[in-house]
């Protein structure tokens, strides 16, 4: 019994913590509107913590500025806070906060449970997201509208859970099936411009996965669970930290590794 608990802790501690954070935030946002709780109000685009600290999505704010909106300093400050948080934590938003991660991880889990090994229906380059991000900037400027905020499934889900989904559920279901049947890790790993944005600012992050080559048995478990497997290019090759910016710091690789070859680490990145 005790060893079972130890096993579960060892293999699921980060995953459990992530799901608690993701669902907890969604619940607090929902409670803010439904029962007037003042812990967390608004949605992931902009929110207030205890009615005092305003937090704002930096990419949404950037789009508003490009669209020509005269954004108040309160929102700008909130965007700066979030910007700094993810500059330090890396792309942790995607795996710890974003509710769409629940959907795409479910699709990935379904893939694994059903044993889908089919090649993707279409080829998407993982750098497509940076093109999409560029498109966000160009179109926001051209249309004077925050263009990603109109189609963002992240906003659609976080807003929909709080204020009513409308037809948004169809959109989110489409993303689930896109990830399940068409392209593995399709949305989060290839398209999402918010993920691209957080990747770009994560270069100097202080939280990274660390690899110890001598312990590695090349079992491949980490590659199986990683939503961005290319970031694990150092595994089995040399010591160092995961420095490729698309790592979402979900630490799933750390917990599935049975050989003590992957660790959570603080501090600057390095490689040998």
């Amino acid at each position: 019994m005790k060893s079972k608990i130890a096993y579960l802790y060892k293999h699921y501690r980060f995953l459990a913590a992530r799901r608690i954070v993701q669902l907890g935030l969604l619940f607090l946002f929902m409670a803010g509107n439904a029962w007037g709780w003042h812990i967390l109000t608004g949605d992931l685009s902009s929110s207030r913590v205890f009615d005092t600290i305003t937090l704002t999505d930096p990419l949404a704010t950037l789009q508003l500025l490009l669209a020509g909106g005269k954004v108040a300093s309160e929102a700008l400050l909130g965007a700066l806070i979030i910007f700094v948080v993810y500059a330090v934590l890396g792309r942790a938003f995607c795996s710890w906060i974003c509710p769409v991660n629940l959907i795409t991880d479910l699709a990935d889990w379904t893939r694994r449970v059903l044993g889908f090994q089919e090649p993707p229906l279409m080829y998407l380059n993982r750098n497509l997201r940076y093109w999409v991000l560029g498109l966000v900037f160009v179109l926001s400027l051209l249309l004077s509208l925050p263009v990603f905020e109109f189609i963002s499934p992240i906003a659609a889900l976080s807003r929909g859970a709080v204020f009513g989904m409308g037809m948004g559920w169809a959109y989110l279901t489409a993303i689930f099936f896109f990830d399940l049947f068409i392209v593995k890790h399709g949305y989060c790993g290839h398209i999402c411009p918010l993920g691209a944005f957080y990747s770009l600012i994560s270069r100097f992050r202080l939280v990274r996965v660390r690899h110890v080559k001598d312990n590695c048995t090349n079992c491949g478990l980490c590659f199986n669970v990683c939503p961005e497997p290319h970031v694990l290019s150092l595994v089995g090759k040399h010591d160092g930290t995961v420095n490729i910016p698309e790592c979402t710091n979900c630490f799933r690789c750390v917990e599935v590794c049975d050989d003590d070859a992957l660790f959570f680490s603080l501090g600057k990145g390095w490689s040998e």
């Binding site: 803010g32 509107n33 007037g36 109000t41 608004g42 949605d43 685009s45 902009s46 929110s47 207030r48 305003t54 704002t56 999505d57 949404a60 704010t61 508003l64 669209a67 020509g68 909106g69 005269k70 954004v71 108040a72 309160e74 929102a75 909130g78 380059n125 497509l128 093109w131 999409v132 560029g134 498109l135 160009v138 179109l139 051209l142 249309l143 004077s144 509208l145 925050p146 263009v147 905020e149 109109f150 189609i151 906003a155 659609a156 807003r159 929909g160 709080v162 204020f163 009513g164 989904m165 409308g166 037809m167 948004g168 169809a170 959109y171």
Partner: protein
């Protein structure tokens, strides 16, 4: 004939492939957003910037919606014919009750709802400066204009005798009765929609439209006298 550089050709082709994908995607994306943001009949909360600026400043967070104590405000969802994620209200369902502390406008983090536009010279909040829309009356179906005694909209108006007042006219049908016809003064109307909510007809014959839609403009080349003062006989110290 020189040898063709296949590597370079392939690279150019790949770049063109990517560029085409982005251009095609961007066209559909821009088309959807432009269409979705087209909402001529949407009523915004108090203090909203002009629609174009509003859409460029609103971050779709819903803090105004949560601040509204009457659940007047809603946040547009997909399929509602409202720019998605932006706040609006439908007066016939729940009108704006013009809270004196204007919590919705005060809650806005980006300034898409501008509290300064609702502040008077002394720095006091003045919700009567809101211009969410303007009430428009369909005189063909307004029962007061057909000789029946109804002043529901007039009584509902928080700026009674300023924003809506009663124009007493002779009833030409009977020749001896009065008709008490409601008239809206767009200079005072906030567009709160309490009149639309109160209207007794099946489908309201007084309703709020965005000011851009409902009001004309004379342009610059007319030299007109000041607009007629509809409120001449109304006591000016009330409201």
């Amino acid at each position: 004939m020189g040898k063709i550089d296949k590597t370079r050709r392939r690279m150019i082709f790949r770049t063109l492939q990517g560029a085409t994908l982005v251009a095609v995607g961007g066209t559909f994306w821009a088309g959807f957003v432009k269409e979705n943001a087209q909402a001529d009949l949407v009523l915004r909360p108090p203090g909203a910037l002009p629609e174009k600026d509003f859409l460029a400043t609103c971050i779709h967070c819903g803090l105004c919606v949560e601040a509204c104590p009457y659940d007047t405000l809603r946040l547009g969802a997909y399929g509602e014919n409202v720019p998605v994620g932006t706040p609006y209200f439908i007066p016939r369902d729940v009108p704006c009750y013009l809270c004196e502390d204007i919590p919705c406008t005060a809650a806005c983090p980006t300034g898409a709802l501008d509290l300064l536009s609702l502040t008077d010279e002394e720095g006091e909040l003045d919700v009567s400066k809101s211009r969410m829309g303007v009430a428009v009356i369909d005189y063909n179906n307004c029962i007061a204009n057909r000789g029946l005694r109804c002043d529901a909209c007039v009584r509902a108006c928080p700026y009674i005798e300023k924003a809506i007042f009663v124009d007493t006219r002779r009833n030409p049908r009977t020749g001896k009765h009065a008709m008490l016809v409601p008239v809206v003064d767009a200079d005072y109307c906030t567009g709160c929609g309490l009149c639309e909510k109160a209207c007794v007809t099946d489908k309201p014959t007084i309703f709020v439209l965005p000011r851009d839609v409902a009001l004309g403009s004379t342009g610059l080349h007319y030299e007109l006298p000041p607009p007629p003062n509809f409120n001449e006989e109304a006591p000016s110290d009330e409201i």
